[in-house]
Symmetry: C3
Subunit: 466 residues, 3 copies
């Protein structure tokens, strides 16, 4: 009997036998390296408190919009997956198991299958007939004493894990972990000020009021707003943060003078801003965030190009992050120019540009990162965080920018148990890509062995200043 695909030592490696052999050698160089995760959405408190994981549905299905979206597409109403299931967690799990065959060939399916086998030690494929059995088996694993966040952090060989945090977060969990001599990992906060920058956010005005009250050292208005952001960034730096992350609508940047920026700010506070004002203010604030990054050293990461909450009725009933953020085309070349004019060659400034629009990889990001010392190409993200998409990414950027100008893998996940599978996928794909270059005599095998270590291990440390 052939081994499970999730356990096959050659999974994701190229089919050609000689290329596969080269890939195996490359993979062996990085397979046991620690995990560096410089961008993600795990909750630091869960690690600090070593909170036991909830039931299988709550852990693996309900909060993972990669997973719920495809079940939803198959015709299962969202309430069946979001607490409105009359059979509770077990009912949610049954809907998931019924939909499981639909995940064949998807990135999520691959990560899940790997978790089932390697983290939860399920012996058999999921099937409708044994939905309850798999629920019970995972549940049993979840209550094992060694199945707790801190032990898994160690078992997963995680060295650095960055979280994503509100600028007003106390960062107490991060501080506690840093102070705890029994915990050896690094759990770092990330400054994520979207809710204080996007004036179309319904709670923007109250967020900003709170921000100024809390952190502006008595200053008010636009000046207080800027000062408070600077202060909170400093607070994050003091708590170990290495980066500030920005989920923006587009990559636009804009340098406004203070008077114009202040006028926009006050117009927004008065609830009178237009859609164009929203875009202008966000663009201006990206310029300001770059200025602050130049000053305080936080790596700046930009994630544009997602139409958030595309389906109004689902958003109204179930809130954000429920699987209907849909990408659209972006253009970086003109949009990012105002920022790069002033900061593109600033000392020690690091700017990581992500995209959900693959067309910009070869057309814009590789050319930009191949000139500006500050610019790094963000690894394939979200819908593009998958084997074929990663290979397309490397093919699109390497011939212009080489291997030194990309960010290294980010898992971007809130699904803690999927972290090893995601990093393993990335390492296998890097091995697959490099093995092809070796087989085609474009890179020597010796150099490829150095490059894969650089890409997997040194790149994220260098780019994220770890």
């Amino acid at each position: 009997m052939s081994p499970s695909i999730a356990a096959h030592p050659d999974r994701l490696l190229p089919a050609d036998p000689r290329t596969r052999e080269i890939a195996r050698g490359l993979l062996s160089r990085v397979q046991d390296l620690p995990i560096i995760s410089p961008h993600g959405h795990v909750d630091a408190a869960v690690i600090e408190r070593n909170t036991p994981f909830p039931d299988p549905a709550e852990l693996l299905v309900a909060p993972d919009h990669y997973v719920t979206r495809l079940i939803h597409a198959s015709g299962v109403p969202m309430e069946q997956l979001q607490g409105g299931n009359p059979q509770g967690a077990r009912g949610v799990w049954r809907r998931f198991v019924e939909a499981w065959p639909l995940f064949e060939g998807t990135a999520s399916g691959y990560w899940l299958r790997t978790q089932f086998e390697q983290v939860f030690k399920l012996g058999a494929e999921l099937s409708e007939l044994s939905a309850d059995a798999s629920y019970d088996a995972i549940s049993a694993r979840l209550v094992e004493p060694d199945f707790r966040p801190r032990q898994l952090f160690k078992d997963f060989n995680i060295e650095v894990l960055a979280t994503t945090d509100d600028p007003l977060d106390s960062l107490d969990s991060h501080a506690a972990l840093a102070a705890d001599p029994s915990f050896n990992g690094r759990v770092l906060p990330t400054f994520r000020p979207d809710a204080y920058i996007n004036i179309a956010n319904p709670s923007w005005a109250s967020n900003v009021e709170r921000l100024i009250e809390t952190a502006a050292d008595g200053a008010t208005g636009y000046g207080g707003y800027i000062a408070a952001l600077e202060n909170r960034r400093r607070y994050f730096v003091d708590h170990g943060a290495v980066s500030a992350d920005h989920g923006v609508r587009t990559p636009a940047t804009l340098k406004l003078d203070d008077a114009d920026a202040e006028a926009l700010f006050e117009k927004a506070r008065a609830g009178q801003a237009t859609a164009a004002d929203r875009d202008a203010f966000e663009a201006h604030m990206m310029y300001q965030m770059a200025r602050m990054s130049v000053e305080d050293g936080l790596v700046m990461t930009i994630h544009p190009g997602s139409y958030r909450n595309h389906h109004g009725p689902t958003f109204e009933a179930f809130g954000a992050d429920t699987g209907h953020d849909i990408p659209f085309a972006v253009n970086y070349t003109e949009a990012i120019r105002p920022l790069l004019q002033d900061f593109g060659t600033a000392k020690d400034f690091h700017l990581v540009l992500f995209t959900l629009d693959e067309t910009v990889f070869s057309r814009e990001l590789a050319p930009l990162a191949g000139f500006y010392p500050s610019v790094y190409i963000g690894a394939p993200w979200w819908f593009l965080d998958a084997p074929d998409a990663m290979l397309r990414f490397r093919s699109a950027v390497t011939e212009t920018a080489g291997f030194s100008r990309s960010s290294g893998f980010i898992d971007d996940t809130r699904a803690f148990c999927s972290i090893p599978a995601r990093h393993d996928t990335s390492r296998r794909i890097e091995a697959a890509f490099l093995a092809r270059l070796v087989a085609e005599h474009r890179v020597s095998e010796d150099r490829a062995h150095e490059l894969i270590v650089d890409v997997v291990d040194s790149s994220p440390r260098r780019v994220f200043k770890l």
Copy 2:
């Protein structure tokens, strides 16, 4: 001597020996399945009347704009291919045979060569020296008594063939075929109302007048227009139609209230509509068509993004569909949102989104179809209906949306004799793609055997409600 490439059992399968072996096994599962053709342009009357095929030029060259366009590009004036050839059909054929080497590597060349060998039983490659001999050989085949549409329909193993029809078509041929006990296939009409929706069409006003007179049950104006469309859709449903097809300029959709829609409608009837009015009215009508589909169950298919009749002088001399419809970039995410807001989760609504702009596959269509139960990703179409393009399509969409969210192959052809070659191409490419996933241990071989049957056979039945 090596076998002809058109006859080679491994044609289009991956070169790697182990992957090819897997692909052969997968292909064998679907090679003999009946052909399901849910969207195409064959004339139902030709099948009903069992009309003999015309001469080789009229059958294979003149009406096929995939073919004439490349001959034209080589410098042959269009009149040489369109009835203005002084040597008649034989002269058209000679131009084609002279240009035949230019088709090397093209999808059309592949389909044609396959037809020559498998349908017309030519023993040798086309060559200029034997142009007349090939003309004669095909002509002889065309007058054989078994070389008639109904026999070929059976020989080709076609189970379902959808035609594309004017909303005011009587559908008599479809009715006659359905009533004919000697004919076992299903020939279904498709509702295609473009000429009644695109107000820039010079005959729009007279088309609409005729539509209202014929089908509005006495109602007039915009109300009569809408009622007539609803009535004719119902008539199509009653004659077996399963889908309504829309060749639109862009994917824009728009919900206008009745008064605004009526005002636009009357402005257009008065010949005073602007280009913006044209776009707004089409966008509004797509919203209306979706509403009607929700009500009457017709699958809605959208084909946007082609600049029709790009070369004015050729259009003026030779009319539409003469090879110079040229694709342009489209964006679905924002454009389709008004429609999806209201109908994206409507019960049993099926919306198939096609594109000639490959960039939207991974960026927009897979994410949309991976959330909305109504949305299916249209198979690669027209210029993208070719081996490499199909592989790029599968690679672009599968990691996000799996195999269950795409439409299944459509041949979209008016070239009846090319139908088997086109479906065979698609099946081979599905086998090639899945075989790679198996070889890379991303899908098990057993599951791949199920998936290829699902993709080739079950998908079109499910998506098109057959």
Copy 3:
């Protein structure tokens, strides 16, 4: 010990053994064919005067913006590479050798390594430890008596080399070479009028004044401007030019009547033109350039879509062509239509459309070139002139347009010593692509042997009228 990758006979060929074997056979058909270079930036005077090459840094690093850009991205200030290096040429070379590992996997790295081994006969890989030794070795080669432009022209087996020239250039070097019986190559000028067409160029007005004074036969104003351009094109034709090249912002074309064009022209001369005027005038002039090409037979080539001099401070300090021209998205379908309406089927008109935006290859360029006899798809250019990008190009265009509708390779280089490596790369990739089609039974091996000769040798001769 394995051979150097730059010397490996199978470099860039596909890994699959059977496909590689086919590729070897195909490559052998074209490996020794002469180099046809119909578009590039070598200085004719250097060949005419047989000028010795300068030092290694000045020859291989400083003027090559492909090379300096990636060194700059690694953090080396531009002045270190541009004459401001306190250690002079040797210092520039050291910076380059330090950065050399960053070129792994890039197209530039591949060309450079090939030159080092095959042209400069370096026996070992570059390394920091031996930076001075490699500088000395190359320097020694540069002063060898046979290491001069004319001998290399012969050694490189160059048959035709087109330069790029200012419309007012005397073309004396071209004339001298043509008249020199001791020189057997063809060195052809190319008419490049950008500086006389782009009204945003700061020296446009003075350029135009000089043009009219010199070449308008006494005519003045817009009429004199057009006449002077026509006259200078004729002068270029008389000196052997076969093409006119246009580096434009976008592919837009526009037919203005004379009065409107004249008004724009005078507005620009008065320094009052807006950005919209700039675009309109350039679009109009592209229409005029096509009209002239129809009349005088010069092949028209268009290179749009690069945001020139993206980083203002670098441009101000170091001038143009210093590595920060960044591509952006373009759309040809609507933009090029006014030109094609009138000239798309004009007798003997050749229009080669280049792009830095890969998305237009399958979506627009292949469909356009597959209909219009005048349109040819420009080979992958600049950032896309690399192995994987070239394979993507062939895959994107061939299924629609076959092999006859693309331009053939252009090296577009000012780096004379890189010409053989660049053409060798292209030939290997053509062999790789065709070998895959053969292995997949899509093209017969015999036909592939004809096609590769056609693509490498006949295409550039046919398209560029050589």
